[in-house]
């Protein structure tokens, strides 16, 4: 093999790669927070909503889960402006990520809520807690704790799939890498370096999620 690896231009542009990584983190965190809200509202709609609302949420979930993220992004970025919703690449990226992760989050959180036994809710009410408090502390928090591993691994998948938003030229990590590779032709080297950055981001997120779990859900279980 006569190929000479040339990492020089990649490390020369390392600052812009770090900036891209920061954009990826921001996009992902924004989509996670908003996706969590969509997940909670959607799960509530599926469990407690009327018939029409339930059907609407079901259609949303099935459509999103059975079509590629790439096509969803193209639809949001290219088709929505025709109905008057003009988004810049960053907004389109966040919307696409949140719409996508929301569909998965609804199903995960619904499973969590369904795992809460009726007796637990009744015990909360018997203790004199108001509706809001029962909903928040007796249903939602234990439900989120029960599905926390599934939810966080979905969030890590979200961060990884955010690399696809580079196709609509949002300036995330992959988009920065695309720019560097077209300027330097060190394609393999650039993508190898950012793959390692993604790996580090994924491991970092895992650590952060574990810390959040320790702080938020550290009370003992009944079992």
């Amino acid at each position: 093999m006569s190929y000479q690896f040339n990492f020089g231009p990649v490390f020369a542009a390392f600052d812009s790669l770090l900036l891209g990584a920061w954009v990826t983190v921001q996009l992902s965190v924004a989509a996670m927070v908003l996706g969590l809200i969509v997940g909670i509202l959607g799960a509530a709609a599926k469990l407690f909503g009327g018939r029409i609302l339930r059907v609407v949420v079901d259609v949303y979930i099935e459509v999103i889960r059975n079509t590629p993220f790439l096509v969803q992004i193209f639809f949001i970025f290219f088709a929505l402006p025709l109905v008057g919703l003009r988004l810049n690449p960053t907004q389109a990226a966040i919307l696409a990520l949140l719409v996508n992760v929301g569909a998965y989050a609804i199903e995960i959180i619904r499973a969590g809520i369904e795992s809460i036994s009726r007796g637990q809710v009744e015990a909360g009410m018997a203790l004199g807690l108001g509706r809001i408090h029962v909903l928040r502390y007796v249903i939602l928090k234990p439900a989120l704790r029960a599905v926390y591993p599934a939810l966080t691994s979905q969030f890590i998948l979200l961060m990884l799939s955010s690399s696809v938003v580079s196709t609509i030229s949002a300036n995330d990590l992959t988009a920065v890498a695309n720019d560097i590779q077209s300027a330097t032709f060190s394609s393999f080297e650039v993508y190898l370096v950012i793959t390692v950055i993604y790996l580090v981001l994924a491991m970092g997120l895992t650590v952060v999620f574990r810390q959040i779990e320790r702080i938020t859900f550290s009370y003992p279980t009944a079992r």
């Binding site: 190929y3 079509t67 590629p68 696809v164 793959t195 993604y198």
Partner: protein, 218 residues
């Protein structure tokens, strides 16, 4: 020049399904073979094999599929091998599927109680007999729903092959959209076609899962 979105354009997109299906089928078949080997290594009694399989799985689960495609695509280039976008995508998706199926199936194999394998060992059965006649038949039943679920992920994942230039369903849609600028119709149609492929598999996975839950509850 902007063309209109007529029957020819629809036909072009619809006929691109075959390439999405071809890539999915190759990657799934390759991933089943690779995943089986990864799973065997992952539950092996040799520590080195277990570590290697775990590392392989971790790397593929913690990096974007798009990067896996790029690295394989440009990696072939760097080795001086001229391969088509289809080959590069097929290799990348096969490795990707091997890692994910290996991890899914490891869980299924480990859910078969250890005593089963130990009983086989006590009866003097060989490794192949214990795996082939005792563990795998029981694990296969549990493996069907998550494997079908992953197949849906894989089919959706083939859309990324469009980024390295393989003309499948998504790329066909992009080409037509660039010519007609009818994103609503074009990407609506593309999404609908993916849905028609994936939804039945998702429904099948869910039905099998429910049936399994009922069987286990008994």
């Amino acid at each position: 020049m902007i063309r209109s979105f007529g029957p020819n354009e629809v036909l072009f997109i619809v006929s691109a399904i075959q390439f999405t299906l071809l890539l999915s089928a190759v990657a799934f078949a390759g991933g089943m073979v690779g995943g089986f080997l990864v799973m065997l290594a992952r539950v092996s009694q040799f520590k080195a094999l277990r570590i290697a399989a775990t590392a392989f799985i971790r790397v593929f689960q913690s990096t974007p599929l798009l990067m896996q495609l790029f690295l394989i695509f440009f990696g072939f280039d760097l080795l001086g091998w001229e391969v088509s976008a289809l080959t590069a995508a097929a290799v990348a998706l096969t490795l990707h599927a091997s890692a994910f199926l290996g991890e899914i199936w490891r869980g299924c194999v480990e859910s078969v109680p250890r005593g089963q394998s130990e009983a086989g060992w006590a009866l003097g059965l060989s490794y192949f007999d214990r795996m082939g006649s005792i563990v795998l038949p029981q694990a296969t039943k549990i493996a069907i729903p998550p494997t079908a679920g992953f197949l849906v992920q894989l089919i959706k994942g083939t859309s990324l092959a469009s980024i390295i230039g393989f003309v499948e369903l998504t790329r066909a849609g992009q080409i037509i959209n660039n010519n007609t600028f009818q994103p609503f119709l074009v990407f609506g149609l593309v999404a609908a076609l993916y849905f028609i492929i994936c939804w039945p598999i998702s429904l099948f996975a869910r039905r099998m899962e429910r049936r399994l839950a009922v069987a286990n509850a008994r």
